[in-house]
C-alpha cells in the first residue's frame, strides 16, 4: 500500500511538470500584463511601468523565465504579486484559511443533511417524506449554484436580513473570541450550504438507494430472523455498510470543492482563494494565478489518489497494484 502511494506520488511529478509548462505558457499567452489597465495618467509615468516590467522579468527570454519560475516555485518561492505588491505565499496563506473553512463547513453541512435525509428516505422508502426528499434532491442537482446564490442573497440578505452578503467576518471582532468565531460561522454558513447543495443531493440519493438495497440482503434477513430490533438493524448493520462507499467520495469532493469555491466565493464576495483567482486573472497577476492553478491541480491529483486509496481500503476486492 505504501509502495503504491509512493509510486502514485512519484507519478504525479511528470504530470505536474507538464501542467506547469501549460500553465506557464497560458499565462504568457494571456493578453495584457498587470501594468496595463486603467492608469491614472497624472500619477504614473510610462518609464515607471517599463521599470516594473523589467523588475518582474517580463522582458527576459521565455525559457529563462520558465526555468526561473519553476525553480523558485519548487523551492517555495512563488514570486511576488504585482497587484498586491506582496509575496504570493503570504497572500495565499492569508486567504487559504477562509477557503478551507468554507470547504470544511460545506462538507460538514453536506454530511449532516445528506445523512439525515438519506437515512430517513432509505428506511421509509416510497412514503410522502421520501418523495419530498427525492424532489428536493432532483431540485438540488438541477439548480446551478449561482442561481441558488442569487436567490439566497435576494431573500436572506436583503429581504430578511439574516445573513451577511460580503466578507468572512464581522467588523472589529478580536480573533479567537467567541463572537469572532460565531461571526465567521455566520458569514460562511449560506455559502457553504450553497456549495454543498449538489453533493448533498447526490449523497442523499446514494445513501437512500444503498440502504434500500442493503435492507434486502441476506444478512439483514438473518438479523431480523434472530429478532434484532429494527433500529439496531438499521443503525449497526445497514448503515455501516452504506456509509463505507460514501467515504470514497471524499476524494472527489475535494475536486468539486475547488471548482465550486470559485463561483460561490464570487457570488458572496467571500475573500478566499476563488475570488483571489478571479481577481488575479482579471488583473493579469500571473504569479498569483499560476500558483493557485498549480496548487489546485496538485489538489485534484491528491484528491483522485485519496479516492483510489479509500476505495482500496473500503473494498478489499479492489487490489491496489
Amino acid at each position: 500500500m505504501i509502495k503504491y502511494i509512493l509510486r502514485r506520488l512519484l507519478g504525479m511529478i511528470p504530470m505536474l511538470l507538464l501542467i506547469s509548462i501549460v500553465v506557464f505558457s497560458l499565462a504568457l499567452a494571456m493578453p495584457g500584463d498587470p501594468f496595463g489597465g486603467e492608469i491614472d495618467p497624472t500619477n504614473t509615468d510610462p518609464e515607471y511601468i517599463e521599470r516594473m516590467r523589467e523588475e518582474a522579468g517580463l522582458n527576459d527570454p521565455i525559457p529563462e523565465q520558465y526555468v526561473r519560475w519553476i525553480t523558485n516555485f519548487v523551492q517555495g518561492d512563488f514570486g511576488k504579486s504585482v497587484k498586491y505588491r506582496y509575496d504570493v505565499k503570504d497572500l495565499i496563506l492569508d486567504r487559504l484559511p477562509n477557503t478551507v473553512f468554507l470547504g470544511i463547513m460545506s462538507l460538514i453541512i453536506t454530511y449532516i443533511v445528506a445523512f439525515s435525509m438519506g437515512m430517513y428516505a432509505g428506511r421509509k422508502p416510497y412514503t410522502k417524506m421520501d418523495h419530498l426528499i427525492g424532489g428536493f434532491n432532483y431540485f438540488g442537482l438541477a439548480v446551478p449554484s449561482y442561481i441558488a446564490g442569487i436567490v439566497a442573497i435576494y431573500f436572506f440578505s436583503f429581504k430578511l436580513g439574516w445573513i451577511p452578503y460580503t466578507g468572512s467576518v464581522g467588523v472589529g471582532l478580536e480573533p479567537g473570541t467567541l463572537e469572532y468565531w460565531i461571526s465567521r460561522f455566520h458569514h460562511v454558513l449560506v455559502p457553504a450550504i450553497i456549495l454543498g447543495l449538489m453533493s448533498t443531493a447526490s449523497y442523499t440519493q446514494f445513501l437512500r438507494n444503498d440502504i434500500i438495497e442493503n435492507s434486502r440482503k441476506d444478512f439483514v434477513r438473518t438479523a431480523r430472523a434472530k429478532g434484532t430490533s429494527e433500529s439496531k438493524i438499521y443503525n449497526s448493520h445497514i448503515l455501516r455498510n452504506s456509509i463505507i462507499p460514501l467515504v470514497t467520495f471524499l476524494g472527489f469532493d475535494l475536486v468539486n470543492l475547488i471548482s465550486g469555491a470559485v463561483i460561490t466565493e464570487a457570488i458572496f464576495n467571500y475573500p478566499g482563494l476563488g475570488t483571489l483567482l478571479l481577481d488575479s486573472v482579471q488583473s493579469r497577476d500571473y504569479a498569483v494565478v499560476m500558483t493557485i492553478v498549480m496548487f489546485s491541480s496538485l489538489l485534484v491529483l491528491v484528491g483522485n489518489l485519496l479516492a483510489d486509496i479509500l476505495y482500496g481500503i473500503v473494498d478489499p476486492r479492489i487490489r491496489l497494484e
Binding site: L6, R7, E321
Partner: protein, 338 residues
C-alpha cells in the same frame, strides 16, 4: 522461413498421415507486474509447453480440470492470444507469428465455438447479422439475396427456424444460442473448429443434441475438431484421440479406447475413476486426489503433479518427465514408465 528441421518434420508427418494442426512446445505466459516500478516479477504459466498433432478429419479431445490451461491453449492455437514460445503449424503453414491482415486471412480456416452461449453472442445484433458477419468480413460478397439465402440455409442446418434470422439473441434458449454460435463458426467453411466446452453451460437435456449436431456437421462439412472439455464422458463421446492436461502441460495422449481402458498416468486414472458409472451394479474404486491444484504462477518443481500424486516418489520432485510413447499411439509423461 522453414528450417531444415521443420522440413524434416513436415516430410516425416506427410509420410505417416496428414496432420492439419501441429503444435510444438507451445507456451503462453502472462506476466505478473509488481514492485515499485511495475516490473515483471513473475509469470502465470497458463500453457507451459504442450505439443500435439491433429490429423485431418479427426476429433482431438483435450481434458483437464478447470484452470489447467486448456481454454488458453485453445485460444492460443487460434491466435486469439499471443504465444510466448513454441510453434503452431496449420495445414503446414507456420502461423505462430503472423499478425494483422495476414492473421485475419489465416483465420478463415479455423474457427471457434465458445463456452458461454449467453456471452458469446452480441445482444445488439440480429441473428442474421451475427451469422453473416464472418462472410462479409472476408468480402465473399454475394448479392444480398444470396447471402441471406446462404445464412438461412445455415440456420436451418443447425436446426433453427427460418425466422430466427430476424430475432435477437435474448429471444432464444441456451441450446438455440449455441446453435447460432455453431452456425457462425461454420459460415466460413473452416477446416478446423475448436470447440471450447461447447455444452458445459447447457442443460444436460440439450447437451447431447448439441453434441450430436456437432458430430453430424463434422461429417457433412469435413471438419476437424479440437474439442475442449472438463467432462471426460463428453470427451469420450466426441473424440478419436484424447490429451489430458494438468497445470499447463499434457500428461497423457492416447486413442480414446486406449486411454479409457488402460489409463497410464496417475492423474488420468484419478479422473477416469471419478466418472459416474451409469450402471450402479458395477462398483469401482474411486481415486480421490488430495490437496489443491497448485498455482500456475508458482508451479511445483519436477513433475507438476507430484504434490497430489498417490504414487509419487522422492525423485518426482526433481525430475520433470516428458511425454514419451510407451505404446504405439499412447504417450505419457511420468517417470513410472521410464
Amino acid at each position: 522461413m522453414a528450417t531444415t528441421e521443420e522440413l524434416n518434420k513436415q516430410t516425416q508427418s506427410n509420410e505417416e498421415t496428414e496432420y492439419l494442426l501441429e503444435v510444438n512446445n507451445l507456451k503462453t505466459y502472462y506476466p505478473i507486474k509488481g514492485g515499485f516500478f511495475k516490473k515483471t516479477v513473475g509469470h502465470v504459466k497458463a500453457v507451459d509447453g504442450i505439443s500435439l498433432k491433429i490429423k485431418k478429419g479427426e476429433t482431438f479431445g483435450l481434458v483437464g480440470e478447470s484452470g489447467c490451461g486448456k481454454s488458453t491453449a485453445g485460444r492460443t492455437i487460434l491466435r486469439l492470444n499471443k504465444p510466448t514460445e513454441g510453434q503452431i503449424l496449420f495445414d503446414g503453414k507456420d502461423i505462430t507469428n503472423v499478425s494483422g491482415s495476414n492473421l485475419r486471412k489465416a483465420r478463415q480456416d479455423f474457427q471457434m465455438v465458445f463456452q458461454d452461449p449467453y456471452a458469446s453472442l452480441n445482444p445488439m445484433q440480429m441473428v442474421g447479422d451475427i451469422v453473416s458477419e464472418p462472410i462479409l468480413n472476408y468480402n465473399k460478397r454475394k448479392n444480398k439475396k444470396e447471402l441471406k439465402k446462404e445464412v438461412m440455409e445455415l440456420l436451418n442446418r443447425v436446426g433453427l427456424p427460418e425466422d430466427a434470422y430476424y430475432k435477437y439473441a435474448h429471444e432464444f434458449s441456451g441450446g438455440q444460442r449455441q446453435r447460432i454460435g455453431i452456425a457462425r463458426s461454420l459460415a466460413l467453411n473452416p477446416k478446423l473448429v475448436i470447440a471450447d466446452e461447447p455444452v458445459s453451460a447447457l442443460d444436460v437435456s440439450v447437451q447431447s443434441q448439441v453434441l450430436n449436431l456437432l458430430k453430424d456437421l463434422q461429417d457433412e462439412f469435413d471438419l476437424t475438431y479440437l474439442f475442449i472439455a472438463h467432462d471426460l464422458s463428453v470427451v469420450k463421446h466426441m473424440s478419436d484421440r484424447i490429451g489430458v492436461m494438468y497445470l499447463g502441460g499434457l500428461v497423457e495422449v492416447a486413442d480414446k479406447d486406449s486411454l479409457y481402458d488402460e489409463p497410464l498416468h496417475p492423474y488420468t486414472k484419478a479422473l477416469i475413476s471419478a466418472i459416474p458409472e451409469p450402471n450402479p451394479q458395477l462398483k469401482k474404486e474411486r481415486i480421490v486426489l488430495e490437496g489443491d491444484v497448485p498455482s500456475p504462477s508458482n508451479p511445483p518443481t519436477g513433475c507438476p503433479f507430484h504434490t497430489r500424486c498417490p504414487l509419487a516418489k522422492p525423485e518426482c520432485a526433481e525430475i520433470k518427465p516428458t511425454l514419451k510413447e510407451v505404446k504405439p499411439g499412447h504417450q505419457v509423461a511420468c517417470i513410472l514408465y521410464d
